[in-house]
């Protein structure tokens, strides 16, 4: 939803021609990426958020499943963020230490985003490359399947899956994985179509290289640019999907949590005065989203020198 189709198309055009520039494409791209202030800021933001998510537990004075009964019940008066009692980000209405809980929630959200994207990259790239390379009727049928699956309201199907087969992280991964590869397959297929008629592919075919080897050796490596850009933009989409489901109370279960679940908890209890229980997870959510968008945009501009 959040991906700009026009820019993606332009990128795809320029990447299809890109191999003329030969090996310097990635080196060029790196140089351009480093010059893009927003993208570099995105990388720094992402590194900080990741460090917090994975190392926060060692800094926190409490664990994420610890409930501070001394503060629980009057969190609004005594649970505000404070250095002195070790609750750096405050305590929410249930007596949970926001610092530890948010670190854990951010970790889950990042993992969901990355797992969903990895599935999308693997399945989508192979599916799209095969479909595009095969062409003809096979291509028609394979793309029709994607079209049909795309017009199914997937959010509802994921929720259906979660309710029927029990709410677990693996089910969430399965549901998100089911939906994430579809657009990737489409984009990869389009790119494969324009790569397919290049001379080096023709040369490979003329020398009798089998089709699967052409796809793996010659098509897939040349798809990396567009896949990398799309994958970076897909991570926030996946995080969004997971947060959405968790917000509805259908995602990960307590004591585990995710950013969406925390935002939901915070929103429900903010009228009692524990505003930090909303603002802390909200802050990390927004920063993570911005970071991925900036990196994705930067990558796209870096790989597409024409689009200024």
């Amino acid at each position: 939803m959040t991906i700009d189709t026009i820019k993606m198309r332009r990128l795809s055009e320029s990447l299809a021609e890109g191999e003329v520039r030969g090996r310097s494409l990635w080196a060029d791209a790196r140089k351009r990426f480093m010059k893009n202030k927003a993208a570099v800021a995105g990388v720094i933001m992402l590194v900080l958020v990741t460090a917090y998510a994975f190392l926060g537990d060692y800094v926190a004075a409490y664990t994420y499943d610890f409930k501070d009964f001394a503060i629980m019940g009057h969190a609004a008066e005594t649970g505000a963020p404070s250095w002195s009692n070790g609750h750096y980000f405050g305590v929410d209405n249930d007596g949970r230490d926001m610092f530890a809980v948010t670190a854990q929630g951010t970790r889950i959200s990042l993992m969901v985003g990355i797992v969903g994207t990895v599935i999308a990259v693997i399945v989508g790239t192979i599916y799209g490359a095969v479909s595009g390379y095969a062409g003809g009727r096979t291509d028609g049928i394979m793309m029709r399947i994607v079209d049909i699956l795309l017009s199914i309201p997937f959010m509802f199907v994921i929720i259906l899956l979660l309710v029927m087969f029990g709410r677990s992280i693996s089910m969430l991964f399965a549901g998100i994985g089911l939906l994430s590869w579809l657009n990737m397959a489409r984009i990869v297929r389009g790119q494969t179509l324009s790569l397919k008629n290049k001379e080096y592919i023709e040369a490979a075919r003329a020398t009798g290289v089998p089709a699967w080897k052409i796809i793996l050796r010659h098509v897939v490596p040349n798809l990396l640019g567009i896949v990398a850009v799309y994958a970076t933009l897909l991570v926030p989409d996946m995080i969004l999907t997971e947060s959405f489901i968790s917000f509805l109370g259908l995602g990960v279960q307590a004591p585990m949590t995710s950013l969406g679940a925390l935002i939901s908890d915070g929103a429900k209890t903010m009228q009692y005065g524990t505003i930090w229980a909303l603002l802390v997870p909200l802050f990390f959510f927004v920063v993570t989203m911005f970071a991925f968008y900036f990196i994705g945009d930067g990558l796209r501009d870096a790989l597409d020198p024409k689009d200024r």
Binding site: M1, T2, D4, T5, I6, K7, R144, D147, I148, S151, I152, P153, M155, F156, V157, I159, L160, L161, L162, V163, M164, F165, G166, P236, L240, S243, F244, F247, L248, G249, L250, G260, I263, S264, G266, A267, M270, Q271, I275, L278, L282, F285, V286, M289, F290, Y293
Partner: protein
């Protein structure tokens, strides 16, 4: 054109059938039947219940009956949890509400989005452009479930201007926040798409020609820029519709507007499979129908499209 429409419809119908079959099989594969509970029913009662809901029939027959009832009578069957309500009644209660604030959001988002994007493109690289782009990036990372609490925090808790929830038959004060929460995300997307599409059109040859032959600027923009620039926007309307439907779940949950999303989540939490399926299929049918309309609209606007 007619052949194209027929072809599109011919694709839409199997899509809908596949959706119905997937949700039906999912429901059937779920562990535990609808009558599995703490208290064991006597065998005879269970048999009677199964007979009443047709669960003693072979699977294919159940599925055929289910599909047939939907197609023939638009009947989604009884609710598995509420003995006195049918799925149709649940849908009839929530759907009109969703439709009202959904349509308002859709219109608002489209108009504001296009206007914002067009202004940004016309004033490219000025502060107006940066402001519009900034708003749209901000709105993009603020999905409905983030905007809703912020709105309530500001307008209900701090300023006390608007009620924090409820519907009251669509009184204006109750509609404002749901509409903002729902429309912001895709208003931003539409603005971004309009902007980049306008920028592309503005540099094309026919615009230079139009200006060269001395057309007034408003005519150049309205007739020669805006219309071709609308193509990607129109093709985005389909996905936008899906975003809106899913977003309405959050709006219903957060603002207690009582729309269809609420019924869906309640059904999900109560494991009321037939209501969940009914809503999923209804939403799927709407999505497919909407995509169909968008496709036809697109073919009608763009003369280049192949039928």
């Amino acid at each position: 054109m007619f052949a194209y429409i027929v072809k599109r419809i011919a694709v839409a119908i199997p899509t809908l059938l596949i959706l119905i079959i997937i949700s039906f099989l999912l429901m059937h594969a779920a562990p535990g039947g609808p009558f599995t509970s703490e208290k064991k029913y006597p065998a005879q009662v269970l048999a009677n219940l199964n007979e009443k809901y047709g669960l003693d029939q072979p699977l294919w027959k159940q599925m055929a009956t289910y599909v047939w009832n939907i197609v023939r009578h638009f009947d989604f069957g009884p609710s598995f949890v509420y003995k006195d309500r049918t799925v149709n009644e649940v849908i009839a209660q929530g759907f009109p509400v969703t439709l009202v604030y959904g349509s308002i959001s859709f219109v608002v988002a489209t108009i504001v989005g296009i206007a914002l994007g067009a202004v940004a493109a016309l004033k490219q690289n000025t502060w107006v452009d940066y402001l519009a782009v900034g708003i749209s990036i901000g709105a993009q990372v603020l999905p409905s479930f983030v905007i809703a609490p912020i709105l309530v925090l500001v307008f209900t808790l701090w300023l006390g201007w608007l009620p924090g929830g409820g519907w009251e038959h669509g009184e204006v004060r109750y509609v404002i926040m749901p509409v903002i929460a729902l429309s912001t995300a895709y208003m931003a997307s539409i603005a971004r798409i309009t902007r980049s599409s306008m920028l592309e059109v503005l540099t094309s040859n026919h615009i230079r020609t139009a200006r060269a032959k001395g057309l007034p600027e408003w005519k150049v923009i309205l007739r020669h820029t805006l219309k071709p620039a609308m193509l990607p926007v129109v093709s985005y309307l389909g996905p936008a519709f899906v975003t809106m439907i899913t977003g309405s779940v959050v709006v219903d949950m957060y603002f207690s507007t009582g729309g269809i999303g609420r019924s869906f989540v309640d059904a999900a939490l109560n494991r009321d499979y037939s209501v969940m399926m009914g809503v999923t299929i209804l939403v799927g049918a709407l999505t497919i129908f909407f995509n169909l309309v968008v496709d036809i609209l697109y073919a009608w606007i763009d003369p280049k499209i192949r039928y």
